[in-house]
Structures are given as C-alpha cells and as structure tokens.
Amino acid sequence: MSHAHHTSMGLDNRKMAFWAFIGSECLLFGSLISTYLIYKGKSTVGPFPHDVLNIPFTSFSTFDLLMSSLAMVLALAAIQRGDMKQGKLWLLVTALLGLVFLGGQYYEFSSFVHEGLGLTTNLFGSTFFVLTGTHGAHVTVGVIWLLTLWVQALRGKLGPEQAVTVEITGLYWHFVDVVWIVIFTLVYLIQ
C-alpha cells in the first residue's frame, strides 16, 4: 500500500511534509483564536459567553478527546509491534471517541441556537461558531480518516509495514487534541 520514501537526511518524507502541514494549521487556528480574543467582550447584544457556555459538559468533551489521544498512541504502538488485533481495537476506540466529541459539539451548538445564539447574532456567536466549527470539521476529517484505516486493517491491508501511515494519522489526531486544549482554556475557562 505504501512505500518508505526518505529524504537525504534519512527522514520519512511523508512525516516531514505532514509536520509542515501541521505548522500551517498552527497559523490557521492562530488567526481564528486571535479573532475570537480580539472581539471578546465586544458583543452589544446577548447571549453572552457566561449565558450559554456549559463548563461541566465541555470538560467531559475535553476528557473524551484526551482519552482518544491515548487510544491513538496505543493503536500506533500495537501496530508497530505487529499486534493487529489490539491495533484494530484501539483505532476503532479512537474513532468512536471522536464521534462522541462530535455528538457533544452537535448538542452544544443545538442548545446555543435554542437559546438564541446563532452565527450572525453577535460578535461572540460569529467568532465562537467559526472557531469551534473549524475545529469540529477537523475532528470530522480525523474520524473519517481513522475509520478508513480501521476498514483497511479489517481487510488485512494495514500492517506493521504501514505503521508510518498510522503515525501520520496520529499526528493529525493529536494536533486536533492540542488545538482543543487551547480552545478549552481560552474560550471556555477564561471568560
């Protein structure tokens, strides 16, 4: 399925390209977080953050995403040592935890809309939905990617030889996790 390609420095070229991609993603999320912070507290009409943000619920979502990162490294470790049974299990667990996060985000967005906060209601709504929605879109891509790998593993097309492919998927997934760590603090806890 995949062949190892190395740069002149002996590094896997796909990993190098992916780290460069993650670097560009830092700039994307940096701009979205900056926009949120700049317009923070500038809404002239409600609902305001303290009216709608549900810290206990979001804390559970944060815990869920942290556990999905753990499941991802366990999947990679299992595949690297050739234990495909464990590898398949942890890949599926990671994807399911991602789906739980997305379900939580759907519930959160729905409840906000129910409370009168939409994309165009005020500056808080616009910046909040764009930032967390972009993150959610990344989680969605990650879940699809993980399920694709899981199906490949079920069909016997994923093994220790493709461990770098799983590692790159993991890099993406952990990046989505660290972005949420920042969002959870800056958006939810520092109101």
Binding site: M16, G23, Q80, V178
Partner: protein, 100 residues
C-alpha cells in the same frame, strides 16, 4: 537527526493520567473564587503543560528528529507572535482612545 524509538505503553498511560489530573485542576480552579486573581495566568500555564506533554510524548517530538520540532515550533511561535501582536494592537488602541 534520525528518528528514534517512541515511548512505552506505561509512559503513555502516565501521560494520560497527568493530562486528566491537570484538566480536573483547571476545572476546579475555575469554580474556586480564591483563585480568581491568578486564574488567567494559572490556566494558561496548566494549558501550556498539557500542550507540551501531548506534543512531546503523543506526537513523539521528544524522540523524533529535531527538524520536525523546527517545522512545528517555527510556525507555532509565529502564530503566537501574531496573536500577541494583534491583541496589543487592538487593546492598546482602545486604551489610547479611552485613556485607561
């Protein structure tokens, strides 16, 4: 520059336990009024520790090539710099206008 072996399963589990504990502390200090004066710096430090732990151990930057660390930290520092610059630009302008 070469890629090295990754952490063990035990290390991954210990990191996960630390991440969960830090998250519990973050939520705890959010609700305790005594922490209000230092809430922002405290939460930023706790968040930074979580961020660094995930990047070093789960993304394997502690064990991988330094070139990968450079490819990640360069744009990250640029993003943080732009963020801080924009915040100073906007909030500095507001303070100049209002004189506060």
């Amino acid at each position: 520059m070469s890629e090295q072996a990754h952490a063990t399963t035990g290390t991954y589990l210990r990191i996960a336990a630390i991440l969960v504990m830090i998250t519990l502390i973050e939520v705890g200090v959010f609700y305790v009024p005594a922490f209000q004066p230092v809430l922002v710096p405290l939460l930023l430090v706790l968040s930074l520790v979580k961020f660094v732990l995930v990047v070093l151990f789960y993304m394997h930057l502690k064990f991988d090539s330094r070139l990968f660390a450079f490819l990640f930290s360069g744009p990250l520092l640029l993003a943080v710099g732009v963020m801080i610059g924009l915040l100073f630009l906007f909030f500095g302008a507001v303070r100049l206008r209002t004189g506060t």
